[in-house]
Structure formats: structure tokens, C-alpha cells
């Protein structure tokens, strides 16, 4: 180890390099591997065909989430292909001795929600999963990123993957967030400034007062969206907020093991003078509630703004026009007042307890708009229980909303939760790609406050107006 000032990223990465291949990638040891039903079956077939086994089954955790229904989870899954994938996950887990929270288990939920809430995710780890939103776990000061199925097979076989070390970017936001501005708005704002590909090739560290003052749920939302600006992952140095969140969780270390781990975790921060390949600085006071209008997450703006002209965006003109044509939006059109058909609260981005608290804060004492179909999907059964315990469910029911059962749901619409073609959905999820929420569906990404304001007014509404009245 040299004494040169190191970044948080370097410290965690370097602690996991088993071997550096000359003119090639690093062989990186993986502390935690999450698997789900969609990207793992072919990986298990692969190791089977090679005649090898899972090297460290205790380092892999399985949960069913992408394909699961969000109603009647006690009944057999109707879609035979989904049922087959879920069965494959369970039988593979059983065969190789991997812990699984299958559909119906009280700990089941979205992989990036259940990992942290059960203390499987711990500061300073390397974490991978066959899902690009694995970047979520960076909120704990982890190097966490999504991988393909060949790499899932690699981790099952060897607990390692091969990765060229990415470049480093630091994004600093100082100041205080304004009223009605949530961590999701911070994420969407950064992506709109950097573009959907502006951080490709980099791993990001988020620093500054805004992130220091953010809850763990908020940090997870921000790190989750790192991939939407092209970054492989994003991370935030662990601090007292992190340690308080982790302490006492089911699989977190206890007693002496906790003290030892804590001493190490406290060293996980970027040293003064550490050098980044790129540094960006934003000011918190410039961030208002955000909403997207295009078909990539970089095409977003402040909710009070109009849709920019082609000449004002960084995307190529042809691609931008294709994007607006898909959304049936015009350049220069205002966003406020746009009639919406669906609201989706949930996903690994915004399916945690704080997101439901925020949604409830806006809808409390109001009624769901008649033109809105609302799907409220908790990220896990633990979140669902908490919603009930805190009385949030009563507030939601009173306002005319129902709660569905946990899963990825309409974020990627692999199950029956599909937005119909041509309909507009305001979603707290992470992607507004063409057809992402169902063939022909039109998605506007936003925070839980914005989603709630839309849900009770039926149109795109600035949540600050409703929060002011409250």
C-alpha cells in the first residue's frame, strides 16, 4: 500500500484485487452476489455443462422479484414461462445450497431493497448482481454494479469477476435542498446535466452536504440511478448515518465482529488530495422537482419548465425528434397541466418506506383523481409491514388508493403490470425507454412527491403547491 492520498473507490477496489492481468482486466473478489429469476437460469446451466459447482454458495443470495405478480401472490403464478423461471431459481438455489427468499417468503422483495434491509449489504463490500441497478448498494460505500449472465456464471464458479478498473468521477453538491425536492430529484437533475451517457466509463463518488444530510433510503435512490447516466456505479462514503442504519440488522455483524468491522469502515473515505479523472460540482439551490419528457432518463427538466427545443439538448436532433414523437410531445410544450393516466410508486429506486411516507404526506386528506389508475407497489414485505404499522396504509386507503404486493412490477413490466399503449404514466422508477413499462407506454419519471401530486390532481402538478397547503 502506498501512502498516496486515495479515493474511497480505490480503497475498496484495491482491497479486492486477487490478480491484475497485464494488458487485461483485474480479477476482482466479490463479497456478495445477488441473483434473481431472470438473469440466473442460463448461468446455472453453464456451470452444470462445465461440470463444476458453486464455489461459495454462502456468498450468494437469491430472491424472486422481476417476474412476480403483485396481486394474489398466494395463488400459483398464471404465466407458465414466469412460473418456470421462478421454479428454476428455487431449484437451483436448493441444489447448490444458496439462501433464497422465494415468492411468498416473508422476506421476499426486490433484490436491491431486501439486501440492505436485512444487513446482507455492508459497507466496503464488492457486490454484483445480474441487474444494472445493483449500483443501489453503493449507498453503503460499496463497489456495486450490474453484470451480465456470463459474469453471473463466473461469480458462481469462482466468486470473482474480471473487470478493467474504471475511471473515477466525483460529483459534489453543496447547499441545502429546497422544499419539495427529494433525492430522486437530485438524481434526475444530475442525469439531465450529465446526459444518459455522460458518465460512461466512470465510477462516481457523490460528495458534499446534500449527500451527507441524506438518509440511507435517499442515498440508495441516488446511487441506484448512477447507471442512468452511464456510470457503472456510484458510491457514498459510509458515516454515522450508514452505521446507524446497518447496526442490528439481521445479518449485520454483532458484538466484537461489529467493533472490528466498524473500525475498518471508518477508514473508508476519500483522503484529502485524492485525484479524480473528472470532478463536477452542482449547487443544491438550482434543483427543483424534476420530471422527464423523453425516452432516456437524461431528457428531464424542472417541473415548471417547458420541453426544450432540439437545439437546446445534447442528444442528436434526429434521436431527439424520434423521442418526442414517441411521447407525442412538442418542443416548447409546458409540462405542468399535462393529463396523465397512470401513476406508479415503487421499484428499487423508490419502493422504500420513505417513498411511501412522502407519497402519503401529499395525498393525506385528498382523493385520487378519477382519471388516474395508481399502482402502489412496496419494495419488499418488510416495507409493506412498515407501511401498515405506521398507519400509512390507512391514509392511502382513505384517499382511494390500494397497496399491491412487492416486486419489480411496472418498472419493467415483465409481469402483468403493463401500462397500455399510448397511455401516460408518471413513475417513480428509473427508466423511460420506449416500451419499458409496456409496449407503446409513455413514461415520465419523477419523485414520490410528484407522483402523489399527479395522483390526486390527474395532471402534472408541482408538489410544492400541495405541500404548501398542507
Amino acid at each position: 500500500m502506498s501512502n498516496k492520498p486515495a479515493s474511497l473507490f480505490d480503497k475498496v477496489w484495491d482491497a479486492h484485487v486477487v490478480r491484475s492481468i497485464p494488458d487485461g482486466p483485474d480479477v476482482l473478489f466479490i463479497d456478495r452476489h445477488f441473483i434473481h429469476e431472470v438473469t440466473s437460469p442460463v448461468a446455472f446451466l453453464g456451470i452444470e455443462n462445465r461440470g463444476i459447482s458453486v464455489l461459495y454458495p454462502q456468498r450468494t443470495f437469491a430472491t424472486a422479484d422481476h417476474n412476480t405478480p403483485t396481486i394474489n401472490q398466494d395463488q400459483p403464478v398464471k404465466d407458465p414461462l414466469s412460473a418456470k423461471q421462478l421454479a428454476a431459481l428455487s431449484s437451483n438455489a436448493q441444489k447448490y445450497g444458496i439462501s433464497i427468499w422465494a415468492l411468498g417468503s416473508p422476506k421476499n422483495g426486490i433484490v436491491h431493497v431486501v439486501g440492505p434491509e436485512n444487513g446482507i449489504t455492508l459497507p466496503g463490500m464488492t457486490i454484483v448482481c445480474g441487474d444494472s441497478h445493483t449500483s443501489t448498494h453503493g449507498a453503503f460505500g460499496c463497489i456495486a454494479f450490474g453484470i451480465g449472465t456470463s459474469e453471473v456464471e463466473m461469480v458462481l464458479a469462482s466468486q470473482c469477476i474480471m473487470q478493467p478498473k474504471p475511471k473515477k468521477m466525483r460529483i459534489t453538491i453543496n447547499g441545502k435542498l429546497g422544499k419539495g425536492v427529494l433525492p430522486k430529484d437530485v438524481a434526475l437533475y444530475m442525469i439531465s446535466q450529465i446526459t444518459a451517457s455522460g458518465a460512461t466509463g466512470y465510477f462516481c463518488e457523490y460528495a458534499g452536504e446534500v449527500f451527507e444530510n441524506m438518509s440511507m433510503e435517499g442515498r440508495m435512490t441516488v446511487c441506484n440511478m448512477s447507471i442512468e447516466m452511464g456510470a457503472r456505479g456510484g458510491m457514498i462514503a459510509p458515516d454515522e448515518t450508514t452505521f446507524n442504519y446497518v447496526k442490528g440488522r439481521d445479518k449485520a455483524p454483532k458484538g466484537e465482529a461489529w467493533d472490528k468491522a466498524l473500525a475498518y469502515w471508518k477508514t473508508l473515505k476519500t483522503d484529502d488530495g485524492a485525484v479524480f479523472d473528472k470532478e463536477l460540482v452542482f449547487n443544491a439551490s438550482n434543483i427543483e422537482p424534476q420530471i422527464t419528457y423523453g425516452t432516456n432518463p437524461g431528457l428531464g427538466t424542472g417541473i415548471t419548465h417547458s420541453i426544450p427545443k432540439a437545439s437546446e439538448v445534447k442528444d442528436g436532433e434526429a434521436s431527439y425528434k424520434k423521442s418526442l414523437a414517441y411521447m407525442d410531445f412538442q418542443e416548447g410544450q409546458p409540462l405542468l397541466g399535462k393529463k396523465i393516466d397512470y401513476v406508479f410508486l415503487g421499484s428499487c429506486t423508490n419502493g422504500r418506506i420513505e417513498d411511501f411516507r412522502a407519497f402519503a404526506k401529499v395525498v393525506k386528506g385528498r382523493k385520487k383523481a378519477d382519471n388516474i389508475t395508481a399502482w402502489l407497489v412496496p419494495g419488499s414485505h418488510i416495507v409493506e409491514e412498515q407501511i401498515k404499522k405506521e398507519g400509512i396504509l390507512d391514509i392511502l386507503n382513505e384517499a382511494g388508493f390500494e397497496l399491491r404486493q412487492p416486486g419489480c412490477s411496472a418498472c419493467l413490466a415483465m409481469n402483468d403490470d403493463k401500462i397500455p399503449a399510448g397511455k401516460y404514466a408518471v413513475s417513480t422508477s428509473n427508466r423511460n425507454f420506449e416500451g419499458r413499462q409496456g409496449p407503446g407506454a409513455r413514461t415520465l419519471l419523477a419523485s414520490p412527491y410528484v407522483a402523489a401530486a399527479v395522483a390526486v390532481t390527474g395532471v402534472v402538478t408541482d408538489p410544492r403547491e400541495l405541500l404548501n397547503e398542507a
Binding site: 480479477v27 456478495r32 417476474n67 466496503g124 445480474g130 452511464g230 416500451g435
Partner: protein, 198 residues
């Protein structure tokens, strides 16, 4: 899964001058329900390629018989979004062995290399030349030479070098994969694991 070795590929190319082609477009999520790796090529670019009644969309490039070949040429930020390797499988299964763009999303690039597709990053200027050459003559051929790390427009002889690390190049040229390598260093890995805090 084994793939064909890659050395020199001479082929016509299919142009797709669209930016930010995300993996949800390459293969929509509803086609990810298979438990085996086969047949994904049928659903490559499904919603751009077919109407909702499964009839082909005439204006989409894959439905235009003028264009064919083993090389797909895409706009900037190709393969963004979801980590689904199914996107690379679909491209391979359809018959492409090489994707050319001025900029690839990281995960897609890694997935491609792992399944035997060569992602070739060229300058914006050269990408533009390729699109113009195909537009002028859909039968124009490109040569992708992995040992030399060059891509050439055969009609004019214009050529550009591309980057790939030596380890991955060696793998692609010989049809090796990472697991062979990792299996060979298992004792290093188990020794490393013993010291792990977690």
C-alpha cells in the same frame, strides 16, 4: 457458452444511425422469460421490427432486404440501460458478430465480449463515413481485422485502429472464456477468500 473464434470479418453491414439504442429496444423485457439461451434472435428489436399484430414494420432496417451482413453499425451510446446479456445473445443469434459505434455502454460492451461479439469503437467522423458509405451503396463491405485491430471501408481503403485489451483479444481469437482462466487460479482465490472480512 462456446462461441466461434473471431479473427478477420469481411462483410456488408446493417446501418442503424440512432443514438442511445438501449437494451430494452434490443430485446424487450417480456422476452426475457426463457430459462435457456436460444431463439432470442427472433425477437431482436422486436417493437421496432414488428407491429403489435406481428406484421413486419416496412420502414425498419432489419426488414429492408437491401441491407444485410454480420456487422451492425449503431449510433452513439449503443447498448445503454439494463444489464440483460439477452441483448447480446439476440444480436449474436440473429447473425451479427460485430457491432460498430462511436460509443458503447459499459455493461453491453462487456457482455458482447463475453459472448463472442466484437464491439468496435470508432471516431464520430469514421462512424459518419461508414453510414454515408452504406447509404451510397448498401453492398459496400467493411473489414474488421482483430489481430491488427483495424476497421476498413474496403471501397475506399479508409481505415481506423480500434482499442481492445490484449487479454480479451486473445480470448476472442481463440474462443476462450474467463471461467477457464478463473478455474486455473482457484487456489489464489480460495487463499484470498480466507482473509476476507465478510
Amino acid at each position: 457458452m462456446a462461441y466461434d473464434k473471431f479473427t478477420v470479418l469481411k462483410s456488408t453491414a446493417v446501418p442503424m444511425p440512432i443514438e442511445n439504442v438501449d437494451t430494452d429496444q434490443i430485446i424487450p423485457a417480456r422476452f426475457l422469460k426463457a430459462t435457456e439461451r436460444k431463439g432470442f434472435g427472433d425477437n431482436l428489436f422486436r417493437d421496432w421490427r414488428y407491429n403489435s399484430d406481428d406484421t413486419p414494420k416496412k420502414d425498419f432496417v432489419l426488414n429492408n432486404p437491401i441491407y444485410s451482413g454480420k456487422i451492425l453499425v449503431g449510433g452513439k451510446n449503443f447498448g445503454s440501460g439494463s444489464s440483460r446479456e439477452h441483448a447480446a445473445w439476440a444480436i449474436y443469434d440473429y447473425g451479427f458478430r460485430c457491432v460498430v459505434s462511436s460509443f458503447f455502454a459499459d455493461i453491453f460492451k462487456g457482455n458482447s465480449l463475453n459472448v463472442g461479439i466484437l464491439p468496435v469503437t470508432v471516431s464520430e467522423g469514421f462512424l459518419d463515413k461508414i453510414f454515408k458509405a452504406i447509404e451510397a451503396d448498401p453492398k459496400t463491405e467493411l473489414e474488421v481485422n482483430l489481430p491488427e485491430q483495424t476497421i476498413t471501408l474496403l471501397a475506399t481503403g479508409e481505415s481506423e485502429k480500434f482499442d481492445i485489451n490484449g487479454y480479451k483479444k486473445h480470448n476472442l481469437m481463440n474462443g476462450y472464456d474467463d471461467i477457464d482462466y478463473l478455474q486455473a487460479m482457484k487456489s489464489n482465490i480460495t487463499a484470498f477468500a480466507e482473509k476476507s472480512l465478510y
